[in-house]
Symmetry: C2
Subunit: 115 residues, 2 copies
């Protein structure tokens, strides 16, 4: 249902090839879920449109979501653990879907996702 | 179905009270139609959403429509004949709905609406 991510994937220093493959798949999965959630919200809001003001509120909502998603899924090494933590916190990903990353990375992601 | 216009109505020099009342009613009618057309288009486009890219295209569309509508319905004396002409051209208003304006104004609106 959703398109694949268009940005290239940066090589991650200090990550094994297996870890990178896991991270990439988890990332694309979370991205797909984020898009599905976004589309579902837009459909809900569209059903309730009844004025110019309500259309402009939808426009404002999309401005914010676009900014958030483009920032969140613009993948950079320095923030990758934080990105995964925020995806877990936001229920776009589970810790289980990151199984295969080394224990230290998983522990950091898990701890940050509870903040 | 649509909200009423929020901007105040500027007094129009050189227009009789009757003409102003006709202009105001025509203007609000066109605004209502513009909003209904906008909502219908958003609903159509929403039904076809299937990717982040398609959501961002909807966002771009709303940015343009918002800009257009806010400009078009920000009522100013110096451009009112042109505004009515563009509303007629865009099928948001008919010349008949402006009946009661003096012949010269109607002729100008009619002529410009055919460009």
């Amino acid at each position: 249902m959703v398109d694949t991510m268009r940005e290239g994937w940066t090589e991650l220093d200090g990550w094994t090839e297996t870890e990178q493959a896991i991270a990439k798949e988890a990332f694309e999965r979370a991205y797909g879920r984020a898009v599905e959630r976004l589309v579902a919200t837009v459909r809900d809001r569209t059903a309730a449109l009844n004025s110019a003001e309500s259309v402009w509120q939808l426009h404002d909502y999309l401005s914010i979501e676009r900014h958030t998603m483009e920032g969140r899924f613009d993948f950079r090494l320095d923030g990758i653990l934080f990105v995964f933590a925020s995806l877990v916190k936001d229920e776009l990903l589970t810790i289980k879907e990151l199984t295969g990353l080394d224990a230290e990375k998983l522990a950091k992601i898990g701890a940050m996702s509870r903040f």
